[in-house]
Assembly symmetry: C2
Homo-oligomer: 187 residues x 2
């Protein structure tokens, strides 16, 4: 056994989410999170840039996987088809994290500071997707539009998935949301 318990970052994530849910984000101190995780506050800031970032550690992985999925789509695929494929691919990342996602989303929805952070993560995702589309030869304006639309679909589908009482698969909700979008723009 090591000198310390392993996976300090994971324990900090869990402790932070639990405390944010119990007491609210503002009334939770970093010292409290660190205590619960069995480390010091200084260690918290070695793993996470600030008090908000602890809930967004996965967003970089999401972004990278979506870019990867985009690159894996056939070069001939139209932009929105490639985006749709990427969305369905990353949906699998959340398969076994529905409960965590639900708690996390509730906390974010209740906290303006956290919603700010989420917005910029989504904006960053959209920018990255637009860039990847441009590398596939899509014109910049179209690429940005498709990327923004794709992120909107992600958000709406994710919200539905964590809100609905039933046990649907995120991928299925994504498909349904994409169908809604098609209906909006054609009908």
């Amino acid at each position: 056994m090591g000198r310390w318990e392993p996976d300090a970052a994971g324990r900090l994530r869990e402790a932070a989410l639990a405390l944010y849910a119990e007491q609210g984000f503002e009334r939770t101190t970093v010292a409290g999170i660190a205590d619960r995780a069995g480390v010091t506050a200084r260690t918290f800031f070695r793993h996470f840039a600030d008090k908000r970032e602890v809930l967004f550690a996965g967003s970089q992985e999401l972004e990278q996987r979506m870019i990867g999925a985009l690159a894996a789509a056939p070069p001939s695929a139209p932009p929105m088809d490639a985006i749709a494929a990427a969305l369905l691919t990353v949906a699998g990342l959340f398969a076994d994290r529905r409960d965590y996602s639900r708690r996390r989303q509730a906390v974010i929805a209740a906290t303006p500071e956290l919603r700010e952070r989420e917005l910029i993560k989504m904006a960053s995702l959209a920018t990255a997707l637009a860039g990847a589309l441009q590398q596939r030869g899509v014109a910049p304006a179209v690429a940005s539009l498709a990327a923004e639309t794709g992120v909107a679909v992600f958000r709406v589908a994710f919200e539905r998935w964590v809100t609905e009482p039933e046990d649907a698969q995120l991928a299925e909700v994504m498909r349904a949301t994409l169908a809604d979008l098609a209906g909006l723009t054609t009908g």
Copy 2:
């Protein structure tokens, strides 16, 4: 003459923008802003909720004016026409503030924390517009879509306006951007 110089909030806004531009947002302290404005740091926080908000004092007025302009549009006007009218109306608010807007936008673009705040202001604006459209009898889904699109046009046009070297009117740039949008969705 009063006990203190008048318009402390205005002086604080000016001082903050100047210092953010000179030294960057992070290396600027509230005490420094307050010093330059001739007040104490405590007074800064009486006028602005936090260090970021000092650059976004006008956003509530923008929102209110856009809602007002929406309400003033003929009840028969289609959603996007009403949105367009509101955009052209509020464009006038910026007529004599182009230099200020330019400096402000440069600072925001250079500072992630400030971009977060701007994103949530834009999201709030979109939500308010969607609500106003619904009160005009527009279906919720359509209202949200139109509102988001309208905010996107505002952002793109504003960015063009502060970036372009020429001295165009914001309203003109808005009109051109709306035309681009029409071309995107029909052509």
